[in-house]
Subunit: 216 residues, 2 copies
């Protein structure tokens, strides 16, 4: 065997062992389970809740967002409805409804899995409030799972904004989520956001932790 | 470096490469999504549907089982109900209700994740039919995901009855299921059984395929 090959193979083995050790340890991330909810423009808030209406704060969320006291009923193409869907504030530039795949089946609509904000050609949905209704031609999505973190956390985890990682839930059901996007911002608290389907399917509750692995 | 170490490391590398090639290829398994359903004893069939009643066949399933035309309403401890739950036949030695974790939340009960048949100390549930009702002190479970296969398939996949494997769904959402039990029997058709939560959370539909990996 050539000396070069021996050196190469030895380095490969050492690197593999080191990588394995690093990944076995992983980086712990608390989970936040997102129930169905929606974001509204101020224009839509006023149509649904009355002229000049302002959303009222129920609970603070990360990054200056809040759960409002306001709820709506959403109705899909087959005229099936889900009641008591929470509005998040503050108002945004575009209205967006985030549901689970189970909700999409229940409503009879085809909502795509998307990052928040990316609603082009997503599913149409009707939103009904106490003072009016709006019909969104597009805006209903299934939120793509993702991890929020500060630049400091990103450094500690060895990841960057936009990275795609795998995340392991080492519980009774035992699941690895691939294709998980990292989002880094100073205003973010370390948290992985999954929807109720993902939480129920994988036996995870808010506050439990998962571990970041590199892509598998 | 010792000659022994070089030989050892070289063998480790070759084995690792071979293992990786084998696992990257994997073994394809079609998925069957199980909606909520129940199995009944003949005694319970007669309480729910009338004396001497026999379940009637709607659709054949694997291993001599069938979906019957009969459905029931199930009611949890908080008196919340789910209607139109399908009865599978033929009758069994013990009645058993299989629901998703989402259903458990909806019903307000704590159902454990279990293999079919293992219902000791599982959740209580009421079952209501057109002619009567039974209260199961135990019997409500969330079915643990598993793969059915024939001995021939098991040989091809390199697994044995009772093995625990990981299974990869390489689709848009991208998920690896760990802790998946292999069940081998001559009467089994190759199929991975997951519940509606797992299917919805992971973007999988009946008839799509996943790949068996060794435990990750």
């Amino acid at each position: 065997m050539e000396e070069n090959n021996i050196a190469l193979i030895t380095r490969m083995v050492l690197e593999a062992i080191e990588k394995q050790n690093r990944e076995e340890k992983g980086f712990l991330v608390p989970v936040g389970v997102s129930a169905r909810h929606l974001h509204l423009t101020q224009e839509h808030v006023e149509i649904l809740f009355g002229k000049g209406y302002q959303l009222t704060r129920k609970k603070e969320l990360m990054g200056g967002q809040f759960a409002s006291n306001e709820t709506v009923t959403i109705v899909g193409l087959k005229l099936r409805a889900i009641e008591n869907v929470r509005v998040l504030g503050p108002v945004r530039g575009k209205s967006q409804v985030e549901i689970s795949a189970t909700d999409a089946v229940r409503l009879g609509i085809k909502a795509p899995v998307r990052e928040s904000g990316n609603i082009k050609d997503s599913a149409p949905i009707a939103v009904v409030g106490p003072k009016g209704a709006v019909y969104l031609e597009e805006g209903c999505i299934i939120a793509m799972r993702h991890i929020h973190m500060s630049p400091k956390d990103a450094k500690a985890a060895g990841v960057s904004d936009g990275d795609i990682v795998s995340v392991k839930a080492d519980n009774e059901r035992g699941t690895i989520f691939n294709h998980v996007k990292i989002r880094v911002d100073e205003s973010f608290t370390l948290e992985m956001h999954i929807d109720t389907d993902e939480a129920n399917a994988c036996g995870i509750r808010t506050g439990q932790t998962v571990t970041i692995k590199k892509s598998i």
